[in-house]
Amino acid sequence: MTAVELPAPRRSSLDAVLRARELGIVIALALLVAVTATSNSRFLSGQSIRDILLNTAILAVLAVGQAVVVITRNIDLSVGSVLGLSAFTVGTLLQGNNLPVVLALLVGAGVGVVCGGLNGVLVRYGNVPALVVTLGTLYVVRGVTYFWAGGSQINADELPSGFLDFGNATAIGIPYLVLLAVLVLVVTGVVLRNYRMGRELYAMGSSPHAARLAGIPAGRRTVGAFVVSGGLAGLAGVLFAARFGTIDAAAGTGYELNVVAAVVVGGVAVFGGSGTVWGAALGALLLTTIGSALAVLEINQFWQQAIVGALILLAIGADRLVAARVAASLKKRSSHVR
């Protein structure tokens, strides 16, 4: 048994599995689009595709942040509430003020960073499980938004036209929101794949103990992961405000379920340590497309949430089966080496 020989087969088999995992979503997506389009060709019209992409952009930004946290074997359930707080903050700031879009993006992300930092510090230094912390902040942040907003609502006609254009206009035929989401996806994807910092997150998720022994600053990385997730949720709040123009205290309520579903369906393991943001974004695209397809196929919209739940169960069940098979084949292979 040599240290050099072993990693090679392990990596290739894992890679193959992961590729197959994402391929599975693509096939499911293709089938869904094919079936829906045959029943109603309007599904593939420019407007319909544009709507799907715009809605995916918001969910994908959230899912990328969530994937970063889940990879470290944590979870962030507060993202829907952070989106709401950020959207309302930006809406209030822009109400009647013609401020640049960049400022709105920065403020929104800033709100998210503060919330994410709070989550991270409580998880790391308070030694409280992420589930408890973020379930708590889910309600605290939402409650703060209600305190502030009361029953008031910000309408599209109170927002500067430049900001609303940002939500609907396109560059070279692609909406700005989608471009921004792709930018977030690519940057996070590359950092996770190619940079030391990114690999350390996977190491922490695979084995927190081993990661600490290897000298990874687990505390700083944990807080960092929550800051990224919070910051992206804040950014998604700005996208939400620009896309819909109407914002009240309930904006983004229940989004956390869709985000967790997108990440899990996209093949990010809930035990941490594996999965990619590309998968998470594909998961977001699949969920959004299902939502649109239900409307086009004239199926009761109430099925959507049930389908989200069933998909979560299906995805974690399938991942468990695949993981068991991979573990078995690895065992066999390493016994051959020996």
Partner: protein, 322 residues
């Protein structure tokens, strides 16, 4: 050494229980003095009715958390039970058939959770987030956004009524009976000792002859059954079956259990503490509601309490060590 360890653990545990009971007493006194109508017997009835679903669901949840697992789907089980109750009542089924069916439904929903967690070995957090969405979604599929009312007065009156002319609501009987049953099971039977053993170390428990999978499976069934019952009681109390009944209640239930000194990591906890946690949470919410604090703002309090209930003991331990 181990005896010493147990002794300090016991002491720490007793400290937390004493602290919770002391805080509860302080909250009750302050509320009785400063909040109008808090101390009236009519309000006592409302308080018990308000706290009823949290109180009964917290009991099986305690056992589930002590084994080191979690169940976030309880509020959705409540909602689906309520929606099915409304659907069947609309379909002119007799209430005597509907109620057992809803309890059975709850047990089946719990068994589904238990199947995924114990037979497939999936993490309970992910499974019950999935069923949280699934069960709530099915509730909407069954009933849409309509509401069903006009349940038989004999039943709704019993749920909202009091025992004779005493100020004690009838449902207090249900709470007390269930609390005694779960308390005895957890603290005075082999099943209860197995629950603690599995929570402390699943492998050690297996070596000692406990079957952790089977145990957890039945705990999820118990959780589903009680949540189904909570759905029936909720529907009868408001005489309204809706798909969104009890949405978000899982937060309050988990908060009450953790406030009661149960460790989220499993292996530690006592039902007496949980009862104190439920009373604390219930009276705090009731007092704030009487002071015209909105429901959303109440959630801030519950959220803070949830985090504080884990953060507090952790910080106390750290201070003690330094």
């Amino acid at each position: 050494m181990s005896a010493e360890l147990t002794a300090t653990r016991m002491a720490r545990f007793a400290n937390w229980n004493v602290a919770i009971i002391a805080i509860t007493v302080v909250v009750l006194i302050v509320a009785a003095v400063t909040v109008d109508n808090f101390g009236t017997s009519q309000n006592f009835g409302f308080l018990v009715l308000d706290v009823l679903p949290i109180a009964i669901i917290a009991l099986p949840m305690t056992l589930v958390i002590v084994t080191g697992e979690i169940d976030l789907s309880v509020a959705s089980t409540l909602g689906l039970s309520s929606a099915v109750m409304g659907y069947l009542w609309n379909a002119n089924q007799p209430i005597e058939t509907i109620i057992p069916l809803c309890l059975l439904l709850g047990a089946v929903l719990g068994a589904v959770n238990g199947f995924f967690v114990t037979v497939l070995g999936l993490p309970s957090l992910a499974v019950t987030i999935g069923t949280l969405a699934l069960y709530r979604g099915l509730a909407f599929v069954v009933l849409g956004d309509s509401a069903v009312a006009d349940f038989p007065p004999a039943y709704t009156d019993w749920v909202t009524g009091t025992i004779g002319s005493t100020p004690f609501p009838n449902v207090l009987i249900i709470i007390v009976v269930l609390a005694v049953v779960f308390g005895v099971v957890l603290h005075a039977t082999p099943v209860g000792r197995a629950v603690f053993a599995v929570g402390a170390s699943e492998q050690a428990a297996r070596f000692a002859g406990v079957r952790p999978g089977r145990l957890k499976f039945w705990l999820y069934v118990a959780g589903g059954l009680v949540s189904g019952l909570a759905g029936v009681l909720w529907t009868l109390r408001y005489s309204s079956a809706r798909a969104d009944n009890g949405a978000g209640l899982e937060l309050a239930v988990v908060a009450a259990v953790l406030l009661g000194g149960v460790s989220i990591f499993g292996g530690k906890g006592a039902l007496a503490g949980v009862v104190a946690g439920v009373v604390l949470l219930g009276s705090l919410q009731n007092a704030l509601r009487l002071s015209d604090v909105s429901n959303e703002a109440l959630n801030v309090v519950t959220g803070v309490l949830l985090i504080a209930s884990v953060l507090g003991p952790n910080l106390a331990n750290r201070l003690r060590r330094n």
